[in-house]
């Protein structure tokens, strides 16, 4: 029983780590209608920007998160404006493929600047707290709270601000939104800034738990994509639900299947979801 509970706790923790970049991925999909695989590089760039702020400039982690958000958002917008934007008229598949190429380019720019080595944040490590048989890490708890705060901020932004409402309007029906005088180009830029920025923050949260290197983002790309598909592409609450489900499923699966099949669980989840419910958990239309 305690094994089950512990796996559940661990699953929620990995799930929230995946949820933040998954929100970014889903937000970009919702408004621009293409899966942006460059988010792997965005997560890496965020992780390295925060590393620079934290280790080289001596800023505390929350400030480093802000730096990561700003830097990655900026990179996301620049990358879109210079490369992906002109391909958008050629269909989602073309942009998706171009985003894979963009991902490789960005990843190697990071490698060029920072090199291949692993780096760690300037952060003390703490032993886990124990509650009976359960153990929870203070850092993981902190990351969890940060992730929840970021998600809450995102919800509030989408729900109550003009920009947030405009974003939802474009996601819902771009033509109608345009008729109402919403400039889709402007919304696209804001969405990309937010989406890439959030992914960058997600990269930092993952890096806090592990260490960072130029492949940090790439390693979680599949999980992020799986979470977004699971939750329903384009749905932001769906991305959170999908990430949590995936995290929990992967950890629970460890109790029955060997650990080496963990990634397989993600694939099986996508397969089942696309077979029986193509629009995902909370998606509104078939993707």
């Amino acid at each position: 029983m305690s094994q089950l509970l512990q796996a559940l706790v661990n699953g929620v923790m990995t799930g929230t780590l995946i949820a933040v970049p998954a929100i970014g991925f889903s937000a970009i999909f919702a408004v621009l209608r293409y899966p942006n695989f460059a988010i792997a590089a965005y997560a890496t760039i965020g992780a390295f920007a925060a590393w620079w702020a934290n280790v080289a400039m001596g800023l505390p982690i929350p400030a480093a998160l802000l730096v990561a958000f700003a830097v990655t958002g900026f990179v996301g917008v620049v990358a879109e404006e210079t490369s992906l934007k002109r391909l958008r008229n050629n269909g989602a598949l073309i942009v998706a493929i171009a985003s894979i190429a963009l991902n490789l380019v960005l990843e190697n720019i990071v490698r060029f600047i920072f090199g291949n080595e692993m780096r760690g944040y300037d952060l003390p490590i703490a032993r886990d707290m124990r509650f009976g048989d359960l153990r929870i890490g203070p850092q993981q708890l902190q990351s969890l709270l940060l992730a929840v705060a970021i998600m809450a901020a995102m919800f509030l932004f989408l729900r109550y601000t003009r920009f947030g409402k405009a974003m939802r309007a474009v996601a819902d029906n771009p033509d109608l939104a345009r008729l109402k005088g919403i400039d889709p180009a402007k919304i696209a830029i804001v969405t990309l800034f937010l989406g890439a920025g959030l992914t960058g923050v997600g990269g930092v949260l993952i890096g806090l738990d592990t260490s960072i290197d130029p492949l940090t983002g790439y390693r979680v790309l599949l999980s992020v994509f799986a979470a977004a598909v699971l939750g329903g592409l384009g749905s932001i609450p769906g991305a959170v639900a999908g990430a949590l489900m995936l995290g929990i499923a992967e950890e629970l699966a460890l109790l029955v299947v060997p650990a080496t099949y963990r990634t397989g669980v993600g694939f099986v989840a996508i397969l089942l979801m696309l077979t029986f419910r193509p629009r995902g958990l909370l998606g509104e239309r078939a993707a």
């Binding site: 990995t14 291949n116 692993m118 592990t210 992967e250 650990a259 080496t260």
Partner: protein
């Protein structure tokens, strides 16, 4: 638009010119074409920290040999590819080296998974392959002699890990490893050594692309180990060590020298990795070849793979010289004539070796990684191991044995 017409006469002239063109350079090529050697090392991925230095060592040797007039009067041309520590990328790069560049030999494949994937391409195209991978299964492949490795195999390495844990009074030893071609033989040999001393072993194979391993560590701790052997590569081992620390594990920690390196030690909080032991095949520190390599590449203490790949390029160039032929088959047949000729002149670099070969002397090369003597199957016959421990943020030498 210009009409493009071809009459009989121009066609004939064109065909003749084409035929002449293809006949002409064929001759000159055979004389002065450079000897092509490929390196296939990880420049990115988990092996990324090692590949670039390895290439640097190979290039230094090639430059030196070229400056002294090359081999068989021909220049040596080096073509370097990245295997990305990934079998699929490794195969693509090897195909390019073999089919497009037509190299005589490929050297430096690092990850066992990459070597396992690339080796069949090599023996089928009769290209010689020299590797630094450790998996037992590699030399058991039907490679017909087209493969040598300078890294001790995992039977030997696994036994050393097991014996070390026993010597440190561990009774319950747990082996934690990602899916690699050597995980099984490593574990079997650890188990054999530990069981002999009356201990117990357990193992877990994990997926090395996950952001956290909390549940894996839970499973490890349920075994109640007093020693954990971390069998992974650097990025995943860093996460494992952190998660083991968080979970309150305080027993013996042992890892491969390639995983727990100075870079890992610097990138994680000191208490996470403190007191961790590392075991690695030891280069022949103090040998002439080692001192020479240090000077050539300007790296104070080159890692084992760099010393090995340095030996590989020296061996291959000498093998080409003694065979008088640049083909992979010639290298395969000649390599043991210069690595371990009975009563041969002891040389520690290709320049001296080439001189001895020119003077018709037998040659016995002793390199920077060790004596470099090979068995029938391509394994090295002998090797020392280096034991280090992380103490206060630095890797300190415990013993070489």
């Amino acid at each position: 638009m210009t009409a493009f017409t071809t009459d009989r006469r121009t066609l004939l002239a064109g065909a003749a010119a084409l035929a002449g063109l293809s006949a002409l350079p064929g001759r000159t090529l055979a004389q002065g074409a450079p000897i092509k050697i490929g390196t296939l090392t990880p420049l990115t991925g988990a092996g990324g920290p090692y590949g670039p230095v390895m290439v640097k060592a190979v290039k230094a040797v090639v430059d030196e040999v070229n400056a002294a007039g090359g081999v068989l009067g021909r220049k040596v041309e080096l073509i370097s590819e990245d295997d990305q520590t990934n079998p699929e990328a490794g195969v693509r790069a090897a195909r390019k080296l073999i089919d497009v560049d037509k190299v005589s030999a490929i050297l430096g494949t690092w990850a066992s998974s990459v070597t396992t994937a690339v080796a069949p391409l090599c023996w089928e195209s009769k290209t010689f392959l020299a590797t630094v991978s450790g998996a037992d299964s590699i030399t058991q492949l039907p490679h017909q002699g087209y493969l040598i490795r300078t890294q001790p195999n995992t039977t030997l390495q696994g036994r050393k890990f097991g014996e070390f844990c026993v010597a440190e009074k561990a009774k319950r030893v747990f082996f934690l490893s990602p899916q690699t071609p050597f995980a099984k033989s490593q574990f079997d040999n650890i188990t054999e050594a530990v069981k002999k001393a009356g201990g117990e072993t357990g193992s877990l194979i994990y997926d090395d692309k996950k952001p956290a391993y909390r549940s894996e560590i839970d499973e490890v701790l349920r075994f109640k180990p007093d020693a954990i052997i971390f069998g992974g590569y650097t990025p995943d081992t860093a996460v494992m060590l952190k998660d083991a620390y968080r979970a309150g594990y305080g027993g013996l920690k042992v890892a491969f020298g390639y995983a727990v390196n100075q870079k890992l030690v610097e990138s994680v909080p000191a208490e996470v990795v403190d007191k961790t032991f590392t075991i690695a095949p030891s280069p022949a520190e103090g040998s002439k070849a080692y001192a020479r390599l240090v000077k050539m590449i300007g790296v104070a203490s080159p890692d084992p793979y760099t010393t090995q790949v340095y030996d590989q390029i020296n061996l291959i160039l000498m093998a080409i010289a003694i065979a008088g032929d640049t083909s992979g088959t010639a290298i395969k047949d000649a390599v043991r004539k210069i690595s371990q000729a009975q009563g041969g002149a002891k040389v520690d670099n290709a320049l001296d070796g080439l001189k001895a070969i020119a003077a018709k002397q037998p040659v016995d090369y002793d390199g920077a990684s060790g004596p470099c003597d090979f068995t029938e199957t391509g394994d090295i016959a002998d090797c020392q191991f280096r034991y280090e421990q992380v103490q206060g943020g630095k890797l300190a030498l415990v013993k070489i044995a």
